[in-house]
Symmetry: C2
């Protein structure tokens, strides 16, 4: 089954890439954009029919590889 994961920077961690996107959007005329934070998204195709087990495996993979828990949070969707 397919598990979707989002990895985002923790609050307080600087995000220069998001800032650059925000400034570009502002420059394009979207003056109502007050902030942009960029993160990563993963589609994991796991050979496992049990949703709870698949999600538990995805969580383990996030902790070990996909997210840097010092500066990032992750969420299994």
């Amino acid at each position: 089954m397919k598990i979707k994961v989002v990895v985002t920077l923790k609050n307080g961690v600087l995000d220069p890439q998001g800032k650059a996107i925000q400034q570009t959007l502002n420059g394009m005329g979207y003056s109502n954009i007050e902030g942009v934070r960029q993160g990563k998204y993963f589609d994991l195709e796991i050979a496992e029919r049990d949703e709870a087990k698949a999600k538990a495996a995805a969580e383990e993979m996030c902790k070990k590889l996909l997210a840097n828990l010092v500066i990032e949070d992750f969420k299994i969707l």
Copy 2:
């Protein structure tokens, strides 16, 4: 209000980064991972109280800047 956007590669577009993650996970012992596709995630803070208007603005921004529609799809969450 906050609008979340996910940008993913279209089916059929090669994703070497996802492939590398998959091979790493397989090498770490997660042999049940059959595929990984990586995408981008954006948190947009829009000064707009009307959810429909905010989502419409986000869609426009995706088309103009955030996604390359030749090879990517986007989804407003």
